[in-house]
């Protein structure tokens, strides 16, 4: 009969599992890639390749892969070829904790790179800090990442969330009186990154006298923005500053259309940085004139950008690299700079010390760090113009002199 056989196999499974557990515990983590004795350097990372943040995770991975390809073509890192050990955390914190324990403890990677999204990075960086590994994260802009007194973490973009909209806010304030908006609405995604961006802009504009007529945060799983769009419409805000990640920004624009409302100026913190996906999502005419914050532009003349673009197009096709890919590349660049300057991978503390006292030239521009790991830099402000994502502020980094003054031209 079926049942006893099944029970027997269950017993077998249970016994095996118990045995495996015991063995797994007793076996020392198999050493692999011990740097000085083997030919490759292994970099471990956990990324959200599935789950809520999968979009960003996949893009970041592209950045890492491009970097690896370029480095290996040029002789590798310290003369050794680079390999990645990538694990999927499914956008789940508990998993990423296990993942980094696995990477550092069991797979014994030589170096680590961070994950995508503040939530995941906050949890994962604690493990790296505990184990004394330098932790460079391509996207962990939340202020809470840096208030724990960690000394081994480095954010490889130009600014944390609260500062990312500063250049835009200053431009608004610099407009002549007849063009400057008098009222503003601030809908924002309730997550550790997007909300602070909008809040940062709101603080600057409110203090200068621009009236806040709508301000609210919405949860991550909100998909229907019609009611919010209606509220924004009813408030009559001339300027809308949305702290948006990706899909929510797209949905909001679509709702604005349905509601039949167009603010004079529209700013979305992150959504417009998703390149083609954003264009397709909102439609080309709706992208026109939307401002956004970006760490990267494909048209910048920053160190390594040409190479990065070339390799990116070779591996992934003709579209512009999404911001997360560039951020991933930049993070790897930072790691590379530290390793090459120190000359070895055995002393993580030396790497950290070097980074604290030096500036790294990346495709995002020059980045240097404070003691707590926050970067010193100016975030770029971009605008979609004619189907292209241009950088408009600050002037030093601008790729065009034109600034479209109203949304949708």
């Amino acid at each position: 009969m079926r049942k006893p056989a099944l029970i027997r196999s269950t017993v077998a499974v249970a016994a095996l599992a118990a045995g495996a557990l015991a063995l797994g515990g007793c076996a020392a983590d198999a050493p692999s890639g011990d740097g000085s004795t083997t030919e490759t350097i292994t970099i471990g990372t956990s990324l959200p390749l599935t789950g809520d943040f999968s979009q960003g995770g996949e893009n970041t991975l592209q950045g890492y892969e491009v970097w690896k390809a370029i480095v290996n073509e040029n002789g590798g890192l310290l003369g050794q070829q680079v390999e990645f050990n990538v694990v999927d955390d499914g956008s789940d914190q508990n998993t990423i904790v296990s993942d980094y324990n696995y990477l550092i403890g069991e797979a014994k990677v030589d170096l680590v790179l961070g994950s995508q999204s503040s939530r995941l990075n906050i949890a994962a960086s604690a493990i790296a800090e505990r184990e004394g590994y330098v932790y460079i994260c391509p996207s962990c802009a939340s202020p809470d990442m840096f208030n724990r007194g960690f000394s081994m973490i480095f954010f490889s973009q130009q600014a944390t969330a609260a500062e990312q909209g500063t250049a835009f806010a200053e431009w608004i304030l610099g407009l002549p009186d007849d063009q400057r908006p008098a009222t503003a609405a601030y809908p924002a995604l309730d997550d550790p990154f997007s909300a602070p961006v909008a809040a940062g802009v709101q603080a600057i504009l409110e203090e200068a006298g621009i009236e806040t007529v709508y301000s609210d945060v919405y949860p991550e799983d909100l998909t229907n923005f019609d009611t919010i769009a209606t509220a924004v419409r009813d408030s009559g805000a001339e300027l809308v500053v949305q702290g948006a990640q990706f899909q929510d920004g797209v949905n909001f624009v679509r709702s604005l259309n349905r509601v039949g409302y167009a603010p004079k100026i529209l700013y979305q913190s992150s959504s417009p940085t998703y390149g083609e996906q954003y264009l397709e999502g909102v439609g080309a005419e709706n992208a026109e004139g939307v401002f956004f914050s970006a760490s990267y532009t494909a048209y910048a003349d920053t160190p390594g950008n040409a190479e990065f673009l070339a390799k990116y197009h070779e591996l992934y096709g003709d579209q512009d690299p999404p911001e997360d890919a560039a951020d991933g590349y930049a993070a790897a660049q930072v790691l590379q700079a530290a390793v090459e300057a120190v000359g070895s991978i055995d002393d993580q503390q030396a790497l950290a010390d070097w980074l604290h006292s030096n500036t790294v030239q990346t495709i995002l521009g020059p980045i240097s760090w404070n003691a707590d790991g926050t970067p010193n830099g100016v975030f770029l402000i971009g605008q979609w113009q004619g189907g292209t994502a241009q950088i408009v502020f600050p002037a030093e980094a601008a790729t065009t002199d034109t600034v479209i003054s109203t949304w949708r031209g």
Partner: protein
């Protein structure tokens, strides 16, 4: 005033779609006392099927509803025969856990097949809306609500006019008595499960147009659908309709008047309040407590 009407109308329109989706859940519970926690996942599956038909063959999502409905019926029927059939009649927790597992399985499989990025079927009318004075009526939602009403009425007719429908109602009231009058409980249950998933499928197809969806969203949906059937009364189709409209309007009003963070609170607040104040819901009836099997 306009804002109020606007919120009300938006709520009713989306409520109609909710009603369609919840009708299957309440039907399944009514006939076989199974709380189908996989209902949300099936909805997303229907949305994916619709999206695939649209992106591969260019069929308008709302026109593909008949195809999706048939496909979902078959899927539901097969699921029943493969799994639910064996736990019919056992303790409540058994079926709850089984359907929960099925929901997870579905989520994982959908992720494998279609990936975890969000999808929508962007048709010509996705962003269009009808302007009436200061109010706007989203076209996609209008059409969906209309179709939802038609399907619910059809369902109602099937239940009250056809033999199958009567068999379903008989089995939901008294299983053993139904058997005596020639109703094959297993066949009826399989049919009901399929029917419940089929009507859900129509709702899922609409979702493909109205919202962007990801596999992981089914949690939100099941909370909402549970709230609706609890509010309306487990097992009552009219109750599901009323409950859905209330929840739809409630979510809409909450966003408009309290804050954008609050619509997600509506499902569980509804559940708490109903189960405390009037556990049988608006239209449910108390089960006879001494019913001996």
């Amino acid at each position: 005033m306009i804002a109020f009407l606007q919120a009300l109308i938006l709520g009713l329109l989306i409520g109609a779609v909710y009603a369609l989706m919840a009708s299957g859940l309440t039907l399944i519970f009514g006939v076989m006392r199974v709380v189908n926690l996989a209902h949300g996942a099936f909805a997303i599956l229907a949305a994916f099927l619709t999206w695939t038909l649209w992106s591969a063959l260019g069929i308008d999502p709302l026109l593909s509803i008949p195809i999706v409905v048939v496909a979902m019926f078959v899927i539901g029927w097969l699921t029943y025969q493969g799994t639910v059939r064996f736990v019919r009649g056992s303790h409540m927790s058994t079926s709850v856990l089984l359907t929960f597992g099925i929901g997870l399985l579905l989520e994982g499989i959908m992720g494998f097949i279609w990936g975890n990025r969000s999808h929508t079927a962007r048709t010509g009318y996705t962003d269009a809306s009808l302007q009436i004075g200061d109010m706007f009526l989203p076209v996609a939602q209008l059409i969906s609500a209309g179709i939802a009403v038609i399907v619910i009425v059809l369902l109602w007719l099937v239940l009250s006019r056809t033999w199958q429908g009567r068999a379903i109602r008989a089995a939901s009231v008294n299983d053993s008595a139904a058997k005596i009058v020639g109703v094959n409980a297993q066949k009826v249950s399989a049919f009901t499960f399929g029917l419940g998933i089929a009507t859900l499928g129509a709702g899922g197809a609409m979702i493909a147009v109205i919202y962007p969806f990801v596999p992981g969203q089914h949690d939100q949906w099941i909370a909402r659908l549970l709230a609706i059937v609890v509010l309306g009364g487990l097992g009552s189709l009219p109750g599901a309709v009323i409950g859905a409209l209330i929840v739809g309007v409630g979510e809409s009003m909450a966003t408009a008047y309290i804050g954008a963070a609050w619509p997600v609170a509506i499902p569980f607040l509804v559940i708490f309040i109903v189960l405390l104040v009037r556990p049988q819901g608006i239209m449910g009836t108390r089960l006879r407590e001494d019913a001996v099997a």
